[in-house]
Symmetry: C2
Subunit: 345 residues, 2 copies
C-alpha cells in the first residue's frame, strides 16, 4: 500500500517501473550512426506545447452549427439518405414539384425526394440540373463551377445522380476531397512543408494558407488520378513525382453554415519532394508557395486561423502520424478522435 500511496501522491514513475524491469540489462547492439540516421525525434512541438488546445480549437471550427441539425430535412434518393436541406433551400426546391417532392414537415421527420419517374441516375441528373440552372439564373446559386459531384450514400457506392458542385452544400450531400502534404526531408532529419497562399481572386477563402495541392473529388476520376491532375494544375508537379504521393488516411468534419450542410471527407496524401523542387502555380489559384519548417506550420495552425479551415485537420493528422505530437500532451486522444468527427464513409 505504501507503494500505491507513493504513486498516487507523487506520481513517481520509477515506483512501478523498477518493479517491472526484469531480466538482464539489454546490451547496446545498435550503432549510434543508425540512430542518428533516423533523424531527430520531433519533440520540439511537444516540449513547447503541454496542451493541444489550439489544435482542438481548429477542429471545433470545422465542426460548427450542429445546433441547427434539428431544422434540416433529409434528402432521400432511391430510399437512401444522401443529403440534408436547410429550410431556406427547402422552400426553393418546393417550387419544382415536377422534380422534388417534399413530404411531411420541414425537419428530420420529413423528407425531400425526387419524383418516381426519375428512376435512373441519368434522368435524375438531367432534371435536377435544370432546376439548379434556373436557381443559378435567379441568383440563388452562386459560384458555379461546371464540375459534377456524385450524390452517394457512401464513397464506394454508385452515384444516384450527379449535381453541379456549387449546389453540394445547398443539398447537403457528402463531398470528398484530396489534400496533399508536400514535404521535404532536411539533412538533420527534420521536415519542411510546402505551404500555398491562395490567390486573392479565389471566391472561397481568398488569401488563406493552403496545402501545396488540394482539390475536390469530382465524379469520374479516381482519387489517385485526381491527385495527379491537381498536382500538375496547382503546383506544376510532374506526374512521375506526383505518382509517388502516398494515401495515408482520411479526416472528416461536418459544418452547418449559412450556405447549408457540409459533411466532408478529405483523403490525405503525403508527397515527399526533393530539396531542389520548387512548385509553380499553373492555374492562377495560388499567389505564392513557401517552404516552412513543420514546427512553424504547427505554430500557425495552433495559434491562428491563417489556414483554410479544413487544411488544419490534414496538417494536424500529419503532425500526429509523424510523431510531432505525443500521448503525454493533454488532449492527444481527443485530437486523434476529433480528426474524424464527421461521418467518415
Amino acid at each position: 500500500m505504501r507503494c500505491l500511496q507513493r504513486q498516487l501522491a507523487k506520481r513517481d514513475p520509477s515506483c512501478c517501473a523498477k518493479r517491472h524491469v526484469r531480466g538482464r540489462p539489454a546490451t547496446l547492439r545498435v550503432s549510434s550512426a543508425f540512430i542518428t540516421s533516423l533523424g531527430t525525434r520531433p519533440a520540439s512541438i511537444a516540449a513547447n506545447m503541454p496542451t493541444l488546445d489550439g489544435f482542438l480549437q481548429r477542429i471545433r471550427e470545422c465542426n460548427t452549427g450542429m445546433e441547427e441539425l434539428p431544422t434540416l430535412t433529409p434528402f432521400v434518393v432511391d430510399g437512401k439518405e444522401v443529403g440534408k436541406l436547410k429550410p431556406r433551400f427547402l422552400e426553393q426546391v418546393k417550387r419544382f414539384p415536377e422534380v422534388f417532392i417534399v413530404e411531411g414537415q420541414s425537419g428530420p421527420s420529413g423528407k425531400v425526394t425526387l419524383t418516381a419517374d426519375l428512376d435512373t441516375p441519368e434522368k435524375r441528373s438531367e432534371k435536377v440540373a435544370a432546376v439548379l440552372q434556373q436557381l443559378r439564373e435567379e441568383g440563388f446559386i452562386t459560384g458555379w463551377r461546371n464540375e459534377l459531384y456524385p450524390v452517394v450514400p457512401s464513397f464506394s457506392a454508385a452515384p444516384l445522380l450527379l449535381v453541379e458542385r456549387a449546389a453540394a452544400t445547398l443539398l447537403g450531400i457528402k463531398a470528398y476531397g484530396v489534400h496533399v502534404n508536400g514535404f521535404v526531408r532536411q539533412p538533420d532529419g527534420g521536415l519542411k512543408l510546402w505551404v500555398a497562399r491562395r490567390s486573392m481572386t479565389k471566391p472561397l477563402w481568398p488569401g488563406k494558407l493552403d496545402h501545396i495541392v488540394a482539390g475536390g473529388q469530382p465524379h469520374g476520376l479516381s482519387c489517385a488520378a485526381n491527385v495527379l491532375k491537381e498536382c500538375e494544375e496547382e503546383a506544376g508537379i510532374p506526374a512521375p513525382l506526383a505518382a509517388t504521393a502516398r494515401p495515408v488516411g482520411a479526416v472528416s468534419y461536418t459544418t452547418i453554415s449559412a450556405s447549408g450542410y457540409k459533411p466532408d471527407v478529405l483523403f490525405c496524401y503525403d508527397l515527399e519532394l526533393p530539396p531542389d523542387f520548387v512548385p509553380t502555380p499553373l492555374d492562377g489559384e495560388v499567389s505564392e508557395f513557401r517552404l516552412l519548417p513543420v514546427e512553424e506550420v504547427a505554430a500557425i495552425v495552433a495559434g491562428s486561423t491563417e489556414f483554410k479551415s479544413n487544411c488544419n485537420l490534414v496538417i494536424i493528422d500529419f503532425l500526429v502520424r509523424h510523431g510531432y505530437l505525443v500521448p503525454e500532451q493533454e488532449g492527444y486522444l481527443q485530437l486523434v478522435a476529433g480528426l474524424r468527427s464527421g461521418d467518415c464513409s
Copy 2:
C-alpha cells in the same frame, strides 16, 4: 448532357479529366533517381485486394457483444462514469456494502458507486483492493498481475483510484496500451515488420502472433517510458534505439465478452530498426520473433485470426498510414473510421 451521360454510363475517368487539365504541361524537373529513392509505391496489396472485407472483419471481431450493453450497470466514482459492470460481477460487489453501493436496478438506469467515506484516491484504492483480493482468494478473479491500472474518465484525467489490472474488465474501466510496429526498411524501399509469437505459457492469447513490443499502460509511467520498458523487457531493444520510436496515433475498440466490458485505447508507435538488429525475448513472454514483409503480414491479418485480436487494428493502421491501402479499395473509409470504433478518450 452527353458528357454527363457518358460519365454515368461508363464511368470514364478521362471525360472529366480532360476538361480540367489546363495550363501548359509540366516539365520533368525531378531526377528519376530521387523518385527511385522514395522506394516502390506499396501498391501490391491494393492491386490484389479490391475490397477490404478481411480487414473490416478483424475490426468487427474487436467490437463485439454490444447487444449486451443494455444489461451493464455504470460504475460511477466522484460523479464521473468510469466503468460498466456485467450482472454477474454486480452481484459480487453487492456483497461488500461497506465499499460498493448499488443504486437502482441492474442496467443503464442504475449505478454502482463507492461509499461516501471513500473520498480520496488513496482510500478508494485501499478499500477496493481489499474487496478484489478477497474475490481473488475465492477464485472469482483470476490472472492476477500485481500491476495497477488507473481508473479514469479519460486518459488525461487524474486517477480516481487504482485497481489491480486483472479486475479492469470486470469493472469495465478504460484501459490503455502501447503497441510498437518494429519495422525494417528494405533496399528496394519496401518494409518488413518484426512479428512475435506469444509463448504458449501466456495466460491470454497463447501462441498467437503479436507486435514486437506491446504492453498495457500501468499507472505511474508515461507512455514513452512504458515503450522503453517494454522494448527492453520483451525484445531486448536498447534504450537509445527504443527512444527513436515515434507515437503515430491511436486506435480504440470496445469488446463485451464473458469477462466483462473492455473499452480499450492503444497508442501506436512506429520504430524503425536497423537491418542487422535481432530482437531477443528477455522475459519469456515470446517464443520466437520473425521478420516478415509487410505484404505477408497484411495477408495474415486479412485472411486469418492468427494475430492477437487487437494487434490487427494497429497493423491495419500501419498499412493505412504507410500507403499500403488506397481510397479506391471498397471499404477504405469504413476501415479508417472503424479503427477508432471505441471511445477514444
